[in-house]
Amino acid sequence: MNIDATIEFIAALFMLAGSIMALISAIGIIRLPDVFTRSHAGTKSSTLAVLLTLLGAFIYFASNQGFYSVRLLLGIAFVFLTAPVAGHLITRAAYRANVKMADTTVEDELKEVTDKVKEEAEKERSETGEVIIEDEKKADKEHSE
């Protein structure tokens, strides 16, 4: 077994490890109870799966054909940057849309904060007695983000 065959074997091992990671994350996405835990499985571990697989492909092409693909490295960097961002955004949207949490949820710290902010806004409005039309209220909400 010469050195090239060994490197190719290692690359194939990387890709196999990535596929096992994707299978684990698929099991997570079907078994976990609510959307927040599911996004945990669907974004974190599948990011690792894609990283391992693309790294394996990069090593394979580098050793087999002497081709150092910049596109694969770019793909690794891009997925590594964007998958957590997408997971965070979709989880935030789900929280804002009041998606029901699992029955086993123990703590929701964000709910206390948002309730407090809402209460304070109500109080202020009733003190000043100003009437806020719907459009301005929406604009205020967007500014406070």
């Binding site: 698929a26 996004s39 990011t47 894609v50 891009f78 979709i90 935030r92």
Partner: protein
């Protein structure tokens, strides 16, 4: 040996895509489906990498970038749609 390992890896990716499609079908809320769709996109990226290794061609490597960008953009658009009800906003900041 290496071909066998790659075939097994591709099979695992196919199984995980099938499971994600089950979640897309039964998912109780819209964010569930979008998380599963995002995962299908990411899994497709890696299976295309494996296919291009199996065929020993570098012609498919552009597809990886395009698919990753498409999955990201569609997830962003869907999450904006869930949060605000619109995808494109025309209101100016001023």
């Amino acid at each position: 040996m290496i071909q066998g390992m790659l075939t097994i890896a591709l099979t695992f990716y196919g199984i995980s895509i099938c499971i994600s499609v089950i979640r897309i079908i039964i998912g109780p809320s819209l964010p569930d489906r979008i998380v599963a769709l995002d995962m299908v996109g990411v899994t497709l990226v890696s299976s295309i990498a494996i296919i291009s290794v199996m065929l020993t061609t570098t012609a498919f490597l552009e597809v990886i970038l395009i698919l990753a960008i498409l999955a990201f953009i569609s997830t962003i658009a869907f999450s904006k749609y869930i949060e605000r009800g619109v995808i494109l906003e025309y209101r100016r900041d001023d």
